[in-house]
């Protein structure tokens, strides 16, 4: 998912950079070509408008519909002159960069020549030579006006063509940007879809695992309750069957001893000895039960001593021959660690006794500065590919987790089962 996110962010970043580059190109095109061209076209239109006004005025001067002398038009031309001169100054300022100096100068010179001719016209008119002035309009001024108008029209066409080229370039930039938007959208869509599918699958697996764990925990809880009840029942039976009968027997012996005090004092000693033996035996049983519930020796002497005491008892009770090895420098283990090591060892041996049908078993403890490894191996039938989900195995796994260790259920070298518990240790301080 992080990879997907990274890809998306990279794609967006790359697209943003691309878009900025395109926008700058567009901005440059807009400022240097389109805007300037458009402004110049407006100025040219203003020039054309002035030239049209000149044409209309010249026509009015010739058609004789006004009862005024030709000099009356001087003021009208002065207004046009003012505006046209301003427009020409603007034109020089905004002419497209590709227009040559000769082209620029030609328009200005042509306009100046027109005004010179117009001055000659008004000179003739002021001198009363109206007919000559009208001839000058027809032969010179109208032709000059038309030439100027054609020139301005040609410049406008050039501007239009430049604008068309710029428009095509702009269109190209927009088309590329549009295509890339679609590409980006498609890529984003694919990535989002893939991420979505992955998330769905991942969530499904997670929910399945949660459901399985929940079921397992429920089962374990039931088994724990069952084991607890079984333990209580066992203790109760021990108390009732063994200690109850023993204490009853001790009571009967003590009554008998009381009777012997008066009648047969010599039997009193034998009674007391018998009672003493029974009490001694009972004490052993109590100790054994106590050890089964919690090995006190573990607290008092440590893990290795507890092993030394437990293994012979197990061998004796089950008849399974135990081969015990220890290597590495032994060290005192934390009580929290040693109880779990001890219980895992007990559980593994118990499993061997119940399921392995093995006559021999090996218990190996390996100490190193950073860990302790406990191995319990038998020569029996092994796990045989069975599901390793029994309560005992689960409890071993839980215990391993509690000490941040790892338990492995392996096949041993002789085909039997091998249980290996590895527990990391805190480094020993040098002090």
């Amino acid at each position: 998912m992080l990879a997907g996110l990274a890809v998306i962010l990279t794609a967006v970043g790359v697209y943003a950079i691309y878009t900025i580059v395109q926008l700058r190109a567009l901005e440059d095109l807009q400022a240097k070509t389109i805007d300037r061209n458009r402004t110049d076209s407006h100025v040219l239109l203003r020039l054309q408008n002035n030239l049209n006004s000149i044409a209309l005025t010249l026509r009015d001067m010739l058609d004789g519909s006004e009862p005024y002398p030709l000099t009356a038009w001087r003021g009208q031309f002065q207004r046009i002159h003012t505006d046209l001169s301003d427009a020409l100054a603007q034109e020089e300022k905004y002419a497209p960069l590709e227009r040559s100096a000769d082209q620029r100068g030609y328009l200005t010179r042509s306009v100046a020549e027109f005004w010179d001719a117009l001055d000659r016209l008004f000179g003739l008119a002021a001198a009363g030579q109206e007919q000559e002035a009208r001839t000058l309009i027809r032969l010179s001024l109208q032709s000059r006006q038309e030439a100027l108008s054609t020139l301005v029209a040609r410049l406008l066409v050039q501007n239009n063509e430049t604008e068309q080229v710029a428009a095509e370039r702009t269109h190209g930039i927009y088309a590329r940007a549009e295509r890339n938007v679609y590409l980006l959208l498609a890529a984003m869509l694919v990535l989002i879809a893939a991420t979505g599918v992955y998330l769905v699958q991942s969530n499904r697996r997670m929910f399945e695992q949660v459901a399985a764990l929940s079921e397992l925990r429920s089962e374990l809880a039931q088994q724990l309750i069952s084991v607890q009840e079984s333990s209580f029942r066992s203790i109760s039976r021990e108390l009732h069957d063994d200690f109850g009968q023993i204490l009853t027997a001790v009571g009967v012996m003590l009554q008998r001893a009381e009777r012997h005090i008066a009648q047969r004092p010599e039997d009193l000693r034998a009674d007391l000895r018998e009672a003493e033996e029974i009490v001694q035996s009972t004490l052993e049983k109590v100790r054994s039960l106590s050890r089964a519930l919690h090995p006190v020796i573990l607290d008092e002497m440590g893990f290795e001593e507890a092993l030394d005491q437990y293994l012979p008892g197990f061998q004796k009770q089950t008849g399974i021959e135990i081969h015990y090895e220890k290597d590495g420098p032994g060290r005192e283990l934390d009580r929290g660690v040693s109880i779990h090591l001890y219980r895992v060892m007990q559980e593994a041996l118990s499993n061997i006794a119940r399921h392995s049908k093995s006559a021999r078993a090996a218990v190996r403890v390996h100490f190193s500065p950073e860990k302790v490894v406990l191995e319990v191996e038998d020569e029996g039938v092994g796990f045989g590919g069975q599901e390793k989900q029994g309560l005992g195995l689960v409890s071993m796994r839980e215990r391993a987790e509690m000490v941040k260790g790892r338990v492995e259920f392996l096949d041993g070298s002789s085909g039997g089962a091998l249980v290996r518990l590895t527990v990391p240790l805190e480094p020993v301080s040098s002090t």
Binding site: S53, T71, A72, W73, G75, Q76
Partner: protein
């Protein structure tokens, strides 16, 4: 309470909210006054351009009895399509709110294709003379002082001129004490050269002026002997690109010499600055009134000039085509104007209006000049294409004195804002109650006389100026009035609006005050008179003499 009764009570409560009271009512007094005028454009289906442009009207006191009379210009049937005989109409004021049609008696029952009117005492005899502009030959009617007008066109040297004339203005451009005449001409048009135009692409409609050549305005200098000299070319007014409809007097550079503002339809407006030597120079572009703020030559129609912000300097209002908004120009330093129409609240409400006549007048007499404009499209097919009405409501923008205007025409009452094909607009106090009444003409329709009834109790100070050294009408004279609320400035002028002329008497609204602290009159001759503690009333002020109540 049920939902229905709740809604009904809510509606009743809303209805009970008092309508906005502008402080005056405009009462349609047309019928009661006996004004039964019907404009004849001569339209017979050919849709000749002049048919949609007229006509104008005027308030004048032609008989000098101190009561305003009314003149309404009329068109006529086109040659070859005669159905009726129509003439302009002169209505004499009966001093009781009614008028009598005295057209025949006054010698004005002249059939002509009349467009506009300009009233001025060009011969300084104390009786107003009349120029009627027309499609064809304009006519100058001299008032003989005995209730009759004489056609002196030829005698005055104004004959032999055919044009499509529009507004005209009397003013003394050379300050010689004689009224000169400026006539606006629209375009070069004749029935023979009529152009087919269409708004919807199917039916013929009235053309906009792009279809026709422009036509120069004329300036005639009064020689003082009853004749006029054409100084159009010599004065620099000559301009064949102009398509002029409106003209207004303005002292743009405040030098005491009258300048001229001409509004052109689809051409740049012209502001002719008086160079004091008998010539003018066009400074419209420099002054910022030639084009709209976005550099477009609008369809300038009507125009008026006045000190609407009481700054002492003159502002300008120009009506334009629909979608162009009115122009409202405020003077700014360096002799230029800024169009504040949008900012002042005039632009947006007038965006859909095609305006013609317009005038600054203090409708509610609060001391701030309000702005009235009448509107109406040029072609009835416009409503199908441009989504604007052919008949359109008038605007009455009330000036709040803080640079803002608010259209209160609907609240003015009596159908003032009901849609009309408005053209001419003039104002004057025909009932002599101290406030300004309004006269409106419509194209191919009736004229409307709206009597102003002030409801707020505001008062006015009115001055009728009579020149002695200056021209008798005192055109170009400036009066300034001060109260503790500030100063107001008015100029005596003809022209303005569209094809129309308002009264020459100046009206100053003093709100609830009963006197002005100071009144100063600057005469065209250069003389200045000052009066103090002038009570609200109507006065006549003869140049060089004290005020006299009339």
């Amino acid at each position: 309470m049920t939902r229905r009764t709740f809604l009904l009570s809510a509606v009743s409560a809303a209805a009970a909210v008092p309508a906005f009271d502008p402080g005056f009512r405009l009462v349609d007094a047309t019928a009661a006054a006996g004004i039964r005028f019907q404009h004849n454009s001569g339209a017979f289906g050919a849709k000749y351009l002049p048919e949609t442009m007229g006509s104008g009207c005027a308030f004048l006191d032609y008989d000098g009895d101190g009561w305003l009379d009314i003149l309404i210009v009329n068109g006529m049937d086109w040659p070859g399509h005669k159905r009726q005989r129509t003439t302009m109409h002169l209505y004499r004021n009966n001093h009781n709110g009614t008028f009598t049609d005295v057209t025949e008696r006054a010698g004005l029952a002249v059939e002509m294709y009349g467009m506009g009117v300009a009233v001025g005492d060009y011969d300084n005899d104390g009786f107003p003379d009349i120029l009627i502009t027309a499609v064809g030959q304009n006519r100058l009617f001299r008032n003989n002082g005995r209730g009759r007008f004489l056609d002196v066109t030829e005698k005055a040297g104004l004959g032999g001129r055919n044009a499509f004339s529009a507004s005209a203005m009397w003013f003394d451009y050379n300050r010689d004490g004689l009224l000169d005449l400026l006539v606006c001409n629209y375009v070069k048009w004749s029935p023979e050269h009529d152009v087919f135009c269409s708004v919807d692409g199917k039916r013929k409609s009235y053309c906009t002026p792009e279809a026709y050549h422009g036509s120069t305005c004329w300036l005639f200098r009064n020689r003082g002997d009853g004749t006029f000299e054409d100084v159009t070319a010599a004065s620099g007014i000559f301009d064949t690109t102009s398509k002029s409809l409106g003209v207004a007097l303005v002292d743009y550079d405040r030098d005491g010499w009258p300048d001229v503002l001409v509004t052109n339809d689809t051409q740049p407006n012209k502001l002719y600055r008086n160079r004091r030597d008998g010539t003018f120079e066009d400074v419209a572009v420099r002054a910022g009134v030639a084009f709209s703020e976005d550099g477009k030559a609008r369809a300038g129609m009507g125009v008026d000039t006045a000190d609407f912000d009481n700054s002492g300097a003159t502002g300008i209002a120009i009506t334009n085509f629909d979608n162009e908004m009115m122009g409202l120009y405020r003077p700014v330093p360096q002799g230029t104007f800024a169009d504040i129409a949008l900012k002042a609240g005039v632009g947006q409400p007038s965006r859909d209006s095609l305006g013609f006549g317009c005038a600054f007048l203090d409708a509610n007499l609060d001391g701030n000049l309000d702005l009235v404009a009448v509107n109406g499209h040029i072609d009835e097919t416009a409503r199908h294409v441009r989504n604007v009405g052919y008949a359109q409501p008038a605007h009455l923008f009330l000036n709040n004195g803080k640079g803002g205007f608010h259209d209160v025409a609907p609240a003015a009452g009596s159908g003032f804002a009901s849609p009309k094909v408005g053209r001419g607009l003039a104002y004057g106090d025909f009932d002599r109650d101290g406030d300004l009444d309004i006269l409106v003409t419509t194209n191919q329709g009736p004229a409307f006389l709206y009597r102003n009834d002030i409801t707020s109790g505001n008062r006015s100070l009115r001055l009728r100026l009579v020149g002695t050294k200056s021209n008798r009408d005192a055109i170009g004279a400036v009066a300034r009035v001060w109260t503790p609320d500030g100063g107001q400035t008015r100029m005596v002028k003809t022209g303005s609006s569209y094809l129309s002329q308002s009264e020459l008497t100046l009206t100053f609204g003093l709100a609830q005050r009963d006197h002005a602290d100071r009144v100063v009159i600057e005469w065209p001759s250069g003389a200045v008179q000052e009066f103090k503690n002038v009570r609200t009333a109507q006065y006549e002020c003869v140049e060089g003499q004290p005020l006299r109540g009339v």
